[in-house]
């Protein structure tokens, strides 16, 4: 990439405000044939910037030049006609339609309104092959695919169309490592063909693998653009937070306490098979495994989230000599001392239109009401205010709707709910998914402190580095069964990965594997 060739997209002093200013001066040049990473804390304005470039939102002030021409797309269609395409962070697909129909949705091949199935299939097969999903039948209803595969379908649908500038907003949040490798191959080909790629991610390792240049955004401004290969993680974090950050905190100095929960022979059709686990107070137990391996199902089974079904086996014990328990509803599990921070915070965790205070108190309204069931909102606000300070939730007031918060702050609200309910065994499903590095560190610190207080913590994560930094032990689940259990010091990334694949070679897979 020659620095004196004119940039494909030039962003000049771009501003955007809704009721409050969100972007306050963005200057970035994006060149053809480069992967340009955008980094920044949640709420820095990355997604807003992308939405403006892709025609979802108009800018308030400033200018965009596309190949030297003024560019102000009035709609998504206008942007796509210029060859600017965005793959959004949130899935944008229709679950009941087939994979093929989703891929060609905006332009279904038809004759007189009747769909031409053969053409539709051909298009879908080509697109799926690009992202390594050739094993999937294009007629499969989309909602039968895992989240990671759906994400790939969305990417496939976008990159098969002509594209000068491709914007990917957290494309790998739900992908496994092999899927990511496959995606990066495709991005390299697009790059070689001259496509400019804007790549948003919080994962440093990926950025360093794929990006040519990095622009860091902070509080609505572009603060630095650097060469990706000559920039250290510390420098980026420094740009993102505007402060020099100390070394990683030490999350290992903990003493494991007595047994909190024993899982004995837990089986749940169709996936979980004879799970045995012991969870101790004062420890963080990591659950590693591929997407679809049964990690989420395990947490949900512990929590009674899917109710009782025929063929369920196994039981739980609280402590060494506790009675045998099977939870058939979340309310039973909570009464016994469990709490679940679910994988999908918007669908399963939050009341988006409700306030921060209302979300925090939801699982514990008894504590903010009198014995007649009368709400005492001042108590509720005081509780919310204390968690706002304790977890540094960024907001105008605790009466603000959570829909207006960034992902990281929303996650802090969900965690606050369980801190307020004060449960002893906390199950975290992907607690840092889609959350910026700075907030991630805060959440790690918080989990560490909770373990120090003697809580038993189970944490599912797709990020191996997160588990190895934080956990005392890591159980690997593979194809619905525990394939390995490592103590701190015993694991290596290679061993963890090998264990994650182990179950699929030993017995036929229940979930497809790509």
């Amino acid at each position: 990439m020659e620095s004196n060739s004119p940039p494909l997209l030039r962003i000049i002093d771009l501003h955007k405000s809704f009721n409050v200013p969100v972007l306050t001066g963005i200057d970035i040049d994006i060149h053809a044939g480069e992967v340009h990473a955008l980094m920044g804390a949640n709420g820095a304005g990355k997604s807003t910037l992308c939405n403006i470039v892709a025609g979802f939102l108009p800018a308030s002030a400033g200018q965009l030049l596309l190949a030297g021409e003024p560019y102000a797309p009035e709609s998504v269609n206008a942007a796509e006609q210029e060859g600017v395409r965005l793959v959004m962070q949130e899935l944008n697909l229709i679950g009941n339609l087939s994979v093929a129909e989703n891929i060609s949705l905006r332009n279904l091949p038809n004759r007189f309104g009747f769909i031409k199935k053969s053409v539709l299939h051909r298009q879908a097969e080509q697109a799926l092959a690009l992202v390594g999903l050739q094993a999937i039948d294009p007629d499969t209803p989309l909602n039968q695919l895992g989240v990671g595969q759906q994400q790939l379908v969305e990417i496939a649908a976008t990159i098969t169309k002509p594209c000068r500038l491709l914007i990917l907003d957290e494309p790998t949040a739900a992908l496994t490592d092999p899927q990511i490798d496959r995606l990066f191959e495709q991005l390299k080909q697009l790059k070689a063909a001259g496509t400019a790629i804007i790549y948003i991610s919080h994962r440093m390792a990926e950025i360093q693998r794929i990006a040519d240049r990095i622009t860091v955004m902070r509080d609505g401004k572009s603060v630095a653009t650097t060469d990706a290969h000559a920039t250290s993680v510390a420098e980026i974090v420094q740009h993102m937070t505007g402060e020099t950050q100390g070394r990683h905190a030490d999350y290992t100095r903990r003493v494991t306490g007595p047994l909190a929960l024993r899982v004995v022979g837990l089986s749940r059709a169709p996936l979980l098979q004879a799970i045995d686990l012991a969870i101790y107070r004062g420890e963080i137990l990591g659950i590693a495994g591929l997407i679809g391996s049964g990690r989420t199902e395990l947490l949900r089974a512990l929590f009674g989230a899917d109710g009782a079904r025929a063929g369920d086996e196994g039981y739980l014990q609280l402590g060494e000599a506790g009675p045998r328990l099977v939870f058939t509803s979340p309310s039973e599990a909570i009464a016994a001392g469990l709490g679940l921070i679910p994988e999908d915070r918007k669908q399963q965790g939050l009341l988006l239109s409700d306030s921060i205070a209302g979300n925090i108190s939801l699982a514990n309204l008894g504590a903010v009401s009198n014995r007649w069931g009368w709400l005492q909102t001042s108590r509720e606000e005081r509780a919310a205010e204390s968690y706002r300070q304790q977890l540094a939730i960024k907001c105008k007031a605790v009466s603000q709707p959570v829909a207006q918060l960034s992902g990281g702050n929303q996650q802090k609200v969900v965690i606050s709910r369980w801190l307020f309910r004060d449960r002893e065994i906390l199950l975290f499903d992907e607690p840092t998914r889609g959350i910026d590095m700075h907030t991630k560190q805060r959440i790690y610190q918080l989990l560490h402190e909770l373990a120090l207080q003697g809580k038993a913590i189970v944490m599912v994560s797709s990020e191996t580095s997160e588990l190895t930094t934080l956990c005392d032990r890591i159980a690997v689940i593979s194809n619905g069964a525990i394939s390995a259990l490592f103590e701190r010091g015993e694991w290596t990334p290679e061993k963890l990965l090998a264990a994650a694949f182990k179950g699929y070679s030993e017995r036929p897979s229940a979930a497809e594997l790509n």
């Binding site: 929590f303 989230a305 509803s329 979340p330 309310s331 599990a333 909570i334 009464a335 679940l340 679910p342 669908q347 399963q348 965790g349 939050l350 009341l351 988006l352 239109s353 409700d354 209302g358 939801l362 699982a363 309204l365 008894g366 009401s369 069931g373 009368w374 709400l375 709910r417």
Partner: protein
């Protein structure tokens, strides 16, 4: 100024001003409209619709719907007629029986839809037919004349001009609003309407809450039956045909979302009043029945469209401020 502002009920102001505008409009159009007689007549017509709309508000807040209220009202009224006329029960026994019929119908709606997760639209549609058929069976398809035994509930109190039914209905409005906005139960209703799965995963048992809401709706339909019988002094098995739609219209005019998660009982009451004033006013200015229906329908749609705009801004207050601001010359930024 700011302390004064806090006492202005902004959330009710929008609908209250629409209501005031309608009253003013009809007063200008008709010489007879703005009179004590009109208002007393009007006030004594609305208790049944009011209480049913209160129950409907709670059902809509949890993203459910109860289509059976009109029929349940007729069935409850029919049982009341049966108890008073045929069984010769005293009023103090007959009234609880009438309310119980409503509660049972509501319980069936709520339990079936919540336990088997069947949409309440379907279950209550079935109940609409069942209860209507029941009303015909109970009364032998005849209107039962009851005369003076129930008259006291619907007749205006001397000196006040308002009936006990109206006072009770207003009490239900206040109680409903308090329940929804001040209690744990009300908070659960709004939470369920917003994100049922999040509520369940927070350890809240959905079944008893949902069933209670439908029982309340049934109870309100039973109370509506009592008011209706008292007003007509007879039990009519054809009572309340299409009333569920009027109730939903009132709730929706009041800004409660059909998608659940938000609602106001007081605004529902303002919705009832707007419909009632519109009906009476149009009749007085000589509008034909078909014309009345066309205009009422248009008002319902207009109210919902306005509500969409209201929620894009920040409540009525922001909406009004926005309108006022637009009249000023634009300030260059």
């Amino acid at each position: 100024m700011s302390s004064l502002r806090r006492f202005i009920p902004w959330e009710y102001l929008g609908l209250a001003s629409v209501l005031a505008a309608l009253v003013l409009l009809f007063s200008l159009l008709s010489n007879h409209f703005f009179s004590a007689l009109t208002f007393v007549t009007l006030a004594n017509q609305i208790p049944a619709l009011t209480v049913i709309a209160v129950g409907m508000t709670l059902v809509l807040v949890i993203a459910g719907i109860d289509l059976s209220v009109g029929s349940v009202m007729a069935l409850s009224g029919a049982v009341l007629g049966l108890a008073l006329a045929d069984w010769q029960l005293p009023l103090l026994l007959a009234i609880p029986l009438c309310l119980l019929v409503g509660c049972v119908c509501g319980y069936v709606n709520g339990f079936i839809s919540a336990y088997w997760t069947i949409p309440s639209f379907i279950v209550s549609l079935g109940m609409l037919e069942i209860a209507r058929g029941g009303a015909y069976l109970v009364t032998d398809s005849q209107t039962k004349y009851l005369g003076g035994s129930v008259e006291a509930i619907g007749a205006p109190l001397p000196g006040l001009g308002l009936s006990p039914a109206l006072l009770l209905a207003v009490a239900c409005v206040i109680a409903g609003q308090v329940l929804l906005s001040k209690t744990v139960f009300g908070r659960y209703l709004i939470a369920i309407g917003t994100n049922e799965e999040a509520v369940r995963l927070s350890g809240i048992k959905l079944l008893p809450i949902k069933v209670s809401v439908f029982v309340l709706s049934g109870l309100m339909a039973g109370l509506g039956g009592l008011f209706h019988v008292a007003y007509l002094e007879s039990a009519d098995p054809n009572a309340g045909i299409g009333l569920e739609l009027s109730a939903i219209a009132a709730v929706v005019i009041g800004g409660t979302s059909l998608a659940g998660g938000r609602g106001s009982v007081v605004n529902t009451f303002l919705g009832v009043l707007i419909i009632a004033v519109l009906q009476t006013g149009l009749a007085q200015v000589g509008a034909s029945e078909p014309t009345k229906r066309v205009i009422t329908g248009a008002v319902i749609v207009a109210a919902v469209v306005l509500d969409v705009y209201r929620h894009r801004a920040t409540g009525w207050r922001g909406w009004l401020q926005k309108i006022l601001r637009q009249k000023k010359p634009a300030v260059a930024e």
